[in-house]
């Protein structure tokens, strides 16, 4: 029981990070029908930007308040990563819009290879470890000498994720941009005819996706305290799994899928085998696609001849 509760807490934390990345996949897929393969690497770039910003703040500028530092790091990472993804969309995906379906996927795979190697070349291949940003924890209860704890950093991740999801929901559901996005998702040509700037809307989708990935990257750095250039691929694939599980194109589905994948992974590690935890996530992906291709919350794909 106590192990289960602890793993539940850990799983929700991990799942929040996956959920934030998964939204990026699901939004981009919803609007231009493309698996943005480079999204995991955008997340990794964000973690590196957060690392650099954090070091500038703490070692150069001497900011001692962690709360202030974390807030600034988050903002910097979001701004910068948005810029990166905006440029990537302009250079690598926009010229291929309306081209045949595989072209953007290959371009995205190339971009993914480029980004991870860019970080490897510019920052070096070694793991980058920083001293823990946030320490301390609540002991919820102790049973059989096993303390179930909720650490402050887990609380921060839960809180930041929840706040951002509310902002994001507001953005998509209530604002002009969100309406434009939903319109483009349904029918780009029609949206353009009624005066929606389709190109700009798609660009903004990439920007929002990157901003959420940046939050995930910052949280990842804070939670694990270590990041390396190759850290984008596996979380990226797992977040994609989450998006598929929740039903690709569905935003609440992405978050719930993320939480489910996080929970499956931590529970699997606790009760079965930590070596095969990635196999668990990938198997969930395969099983979902085979038996429930539209996911938990997705609309079934109707094929018209």
């Amino acid at each position: 029981m106590e192990v289960f509760l602890q793993q539940l807490i850990n799983g929700i934390t991990l799942g929040s990070i996956y959920g934030l990345i998964a939204i990026g996949y699901t939004m981009v897929f919803g609007i231009i029908g493309m698996v943005n393969f480079a999204h995991g690497d955008v997340f990794m770039v964000a973690a590196f930007v957060a690392l650099v910003a954090f070091l500038i703040l703490t070692t150069w500028l001497g900011v001692s308040s962690i709360a202030v530092a974390l807030f600034i790091v988050l903002i910097v990472a979001m701004l910068f990563t948005s810029l990166v993804n905006w440029i990537i969309e302009r250079l690598a995906y926009r010229p291929l819009r309306g081209s045949f379906r595989l072209a953007p996927l290959i371009s995205a795979i190339g971009m993914s290879i480029f980004l991870s190697n860019f970080v490897q070349v510019s920052q070096g291949p070694r793991n980058k470890a920083i001293p823990p940003m946030v320490q301390g924890e609540f002991v919820l209860f102790t049973q059989n000498d096993y303390a179930v704890t909720l650490s402050f950093k887990q609380l921060i991740i839960w809180g930041v994720t929840a706040v951002l999801l509310v902002c994001f929901w507001y953005l998509v559901a209530k604002t002009r941009l969100g309406r434009a996005q939903r319109a483009c998702e349904q029918d780009q040509k029609m949206a353009a005819l009624v005066g929606v700037n389709v190109d700009q809307t798609i660009s903004m989708t990439f920007v929002i996706a990157a901003a959420l990935a940046a939050v995930a990257g910052t949280m990842y750095l804070m939670y694990y305290g270590v990041v390396s250039f190759s850290d984008g691929f596996v979380p990226g694939v797992k977040a994609f799994t989450a998006a598929v599980l929740g039903g690709i194109g569905s935003l609440p589905g992405a978050v719930i899928g993320g939480l489910l994948i996080g929970l499956i992974e931590t529970m699997w590690s606790a009760y079965f085998s930590i070596d095969y935890k990635d196999v668990a996530a990938f198997s969930v992906l395969a099983i979902t696609l085979i038996f429930l291709p539209q996911g938990l919350f997705g609309r079934p794909d109707v094929e018209k001849v």
């Binding site: 650099v52 910003a53 810029l83 290959i106 190339g110 070596d275 696609l289």
Partner: protein, 456 residues
Amino acid sequence: MADGVEKVRIDTAGALRDAAITALLAFGLFLPLIGFQTVTNIRNELVLTTRWPLLFSIVAIVGVARLAYSFFFAPWLAQRRLRPVAVTPPAWRGFVGKWFVPFAIGFVIVYPAIVIASLGFGGALKWVDNFGIQILIYVMLGWGLNIVVGLAGLLDLGYVAFYAVGAYAYALLAKEFGFSFWILLPLAGVMSSFWGILLGFPVLRLRGDYLAIVTLAFGEIIRIVLVNWVDLTNGYAGISGIPRPSFFGIPFNADDDGFAATFGLAFSPIYRTIFLYYLILALAFLTAFVTVRLRRLPVGRAWEALREDEIACRSLGINTTNTKLTAFGMGAMFAGFAGSFFAARQGFISPESFTFLESATILSIVVLGGMGSQIGVAIAAIVMIGGTEIMRELDFLKQIFGESFDPTQYRMLLFGFAMVIIMVLRPRGLVSTRDPSVFLKERKAISADLVKEGHG
């Protein structure tokens, strides 16, 4: 106005403004990761160093490149657009099209001789091994995957799994039971093919991107199993001391019954390399030949029909399940051949050789080459693999950029960049026309605009 070509006007102010904006964006883009570098100091703490000169030179290069684009490249493009399109292609095209393939085949057959003649035994080893064999492995893998992706239109991102099955099948069976290469080569193909059908079966209902992601998941699962099943595969440490293939029973070593002694030659490691070169060349030709012949058989026609329109295919009574499975199995078989060749050539294999990056490389070779075109795939393999291999040879750059400059670091960086650039410039790949296998009276190439693929 003389010959109907209008002079394109250059907007200088606009070009300068664009260049400034681009430079500014580049500055923002590169500031965090090139402007600053995280380094671990002596006390094992992470500290920052700055690289302003590098940052500003990159920003300047980007700005100048943008300026050059608007002054030279954009007018050239615009001018080309204004020029009337030639209706009949120039005569040299037909000549090249006719003689390219025989010439290329002739060239690859005499390639080792050319290299040895010009560089001697010692210098030739690297060129036959790193360039010849390495590129041919990818040509073969590309042709194998071409059956699945290019002909049947099934997007497979886990192709490396079958390559791994072939390699491990050869390595384990050769080490445990001492079977020879010639027995294990077909066996590895059969095993890979079996895995291809096994993994292909559950995913048949999926299409396009979904299929790609599930095959990626399967590829990763196989790799993780190879890493963690230490009893069988020795995990990350890999399997070493894999028996090398012999020349029909005559081993390549310095002994009295070795290849060199048997044929009265001085011992040199290059004989084995040349033998391996012709071996992979033969395997690659086998793949190409089988593919060409299969395209004329009912199953090959069914593959291509499936690629163009699955629903039409089904309504015409083609069994799509069997058609897809044969494509998967056939593609996997060639990967198995290539895998066992790889294990035999290296003498050592580990899960590191079968990462997702390999799958992505092979798929990109197929797509960059123009899906379905065998010549295109071969050219793409030469450009992409040869290009990254040539990066190892650029030591003279050290004289320009200083001793610490290591060109090999930039191999994959440029590889990814090249993938994006080729896709943006030629989204349908290098050779984008289709060569029909059925035609009325006259064989015509099908323009890329008329075909769709990769949706099934």
